[in-house]
């Protein structure tokens, strides 16, 4: 009706104003709708903001750090009993298969001592040679910071754990993180007293860019990048391979130290299979990771010293 009035009346600001007001009232009458919309917009802005901060800045904003540190403190009270329960259960299952394990290990122990001596001599020789060449720091030098794992994100999409050391202990963003067996991930967020580790098993687009190399049987080196993770087979995918030849199943894969975030020589895993990629141009190497990403209690952060 109002619309019809507007058509027959000569144009007047008054009428237009009343008309607009009525539309606005009808539209904005539903307060609940407005609240929902505003909340959604705020939420999207926050998500966008935190993704940008996550990728660009070395540390999160101070407010976020303080919140995280407070949460970390509270979490320690709950995490320690839970981890105690886990280790109690672990020691029970350890006890059950001690005998067979002992048999297997006995054979390895004898050779280990001689390996160790050889390792020490080589290390000493290496140090002396470096001194002679006046090489103070190389890619293989790093400091170790060990930390315990506080908690894991209860989420199917974030393969993330929180560890108990932060910037106060000298942890830097993008540093490599290892378990006892091998490389497990990288630091994505550093707070004062805790930090977040994104595991290699994540499928996040912006993760998993470790520079690695395959050491082949005939002493050649093949460089590449860890570009992804195959969840069904539990293999890391190594792409961007420089040369194709010479790789065999069982060859060791280590970090190459290129790219500036991780030191050289951290053990990643062994080659499981080599495949042509989707276009037949380069090859894709599937790497069986040495570390178990679901069984972490103590981790070591490798801090480059150069």
């Amino acid at each position: 009706m109002r619309g019809w009035d507007l058509v027959v009346q000569p144009f007047s600001y008054d009428a237009a104003f009343v008309f607009m007001e009525e539309i606005m009232q009808r539209f904005f009458f539903n307060k609940r709708l407005i609240i929902v919309l505003v909340v959604l917009i705020i939420s999207f802005v926050l998500v966008a903001f935190s993704i940008t901060v996550r990728n660009n800045k070395a540390t999160p904003p101070l407010v976020q750090q303080v919140g995280n540190d407070a949460a970390g403190m509270a979490d320690r009270v709950i995490a320690y009993p839970a981890n105690g329960l886990k280790s109690a259960m672990g020691s029970f299952s350890d006890l059950m298969n001690t005998y067979s394990e002992n048999q297997r290990l006995k054979s390895q122990v004898d050779s280990l001592a001689s390996e160790k001596v050889k390792d020490q001599t080589l290390k000493r020789e290496n140090k002396k040679l470096k001194e002679q060449l006046k090489l103070n720091k190389t890619l293989t030098d790093y400091e170790k910071i060990s930390a315990s794992v506080l908690t894991r994100s209860p989420s199917a999409w974030q393969n993330q754990v929180v560890i108990s050391k932060g910037s106060l202990s000298g942890i830097k963003k993008n540093a490599a993180v290892m378990s006892k067996k091998g490389l497990v991930g990288r630091i994505t967020e550093v707070n004062k007293t805790n930090s977040k580790v994104e595991l290699l098993s994540t499928t996040n687009d912006s993760a998993n860019r470790f520079a690695t190399q395959v050491m082949t049987k005939n002493n050649k080196v093949v460089n590449g990048l860890i570009t992804g993770y195959n969840a069904t087979s539990n293999y890391l995918v190594m792409g961007q391979i420089t040369v194709k030849t010479g790789m065999e199943k069982g060859d060791k894969v280590i970090t190459s130290g290129l790219g500036g975030n991780s030191p050289k020589g951290l053990y990643v895993g062994t080659v499981a299979k080599v495949e042509e990629d989707d276009y037949g141009l380069a090859s894709k190497v599937y790497v069986k990771p040495a570390a178990d990403f679901t069984d972490l209690d103590v981790v070591t952060v490798a801090k480059r010293v150069d």
Binding site: L40, S43, R54, G67, A74, A82, P154, W157, D205
Partner: protein
């Protein structure tokens, strides 16, 4: 003036449930995150749903927003996801609960709907920002089914203790 003890117990339990989710995921990661299933522990959701159904709690909206904020800050580092999902679930539960008489089955069904909504929303947001590329069918098989089964089991175990707790302290 008598102050209900729930004023202290509810936030305390809320954050214990929140941190217990992470602690359980860490302790049993080998069983909860495999190549065929991914279980998301949602004790914090159970706490909120039981509180809405059986407790009389002041400022429950504020507390659920706070719990969501801590979840986002501490577990994922992406703010704006659970800070919206948790209050929404609280509101949804209140809305549904109004039409029913309280019983074990009714609360169970409400809780299942809540967990489904929360899991689907969480998946959708992660898909949107590129943290996962699992398809909808893959998500249902990998995460939704196992998450529902796990949370259902936890619900059956904790329903009666929590019901008694909230009813006795809310008088």
């Amino acid at each position: 003036m008598r102050i209900s003890r729930m004023r202290y117990f509810f936030p305390l339990g809320l954050f214990v449930a929140l941190f217990l989710d992470g602690a359980l995921s860490q302790a049993f990661a080998g069983a909860m995150f495999t190549s065929t299933l991914a279980i998301e522990s949602r004790l914090v959701l159970l706490w909120i749903v039981m509180a809405v159904c059986f407790g009389k709690i002041d400022h429950i909206l504020v507390w659920s927003i706070l719990a969501g904020l801590v979840f986002d800050l501490y577990y994922t580092g992406i703010i704006g996801v659970f800070v919206v999902i948790l209050p929404l679930i609280m509101y949804l539960t209140k809305l549904m609960y109004r039409f029913f008489t309280p019983s074990f089955i009714v609360v169970l069904l409400i809780y299942l709907i809540d967990v489904t909504v929360a899991t689907v929303m969480f998946y959708w947001i992660n898909l949107l920002i590129g943290f996962t590329n699992v398809s909808m069918a893959g998500f249902i098989g990998l995460s939704l089914g196992s998450t529902l089964a796990y949370n259902l089991a936890v619900f059956v175990l904790l329903y009666f203790p929590l019901q008694r707790f909230f009813e006795s302290f809310s008088k």
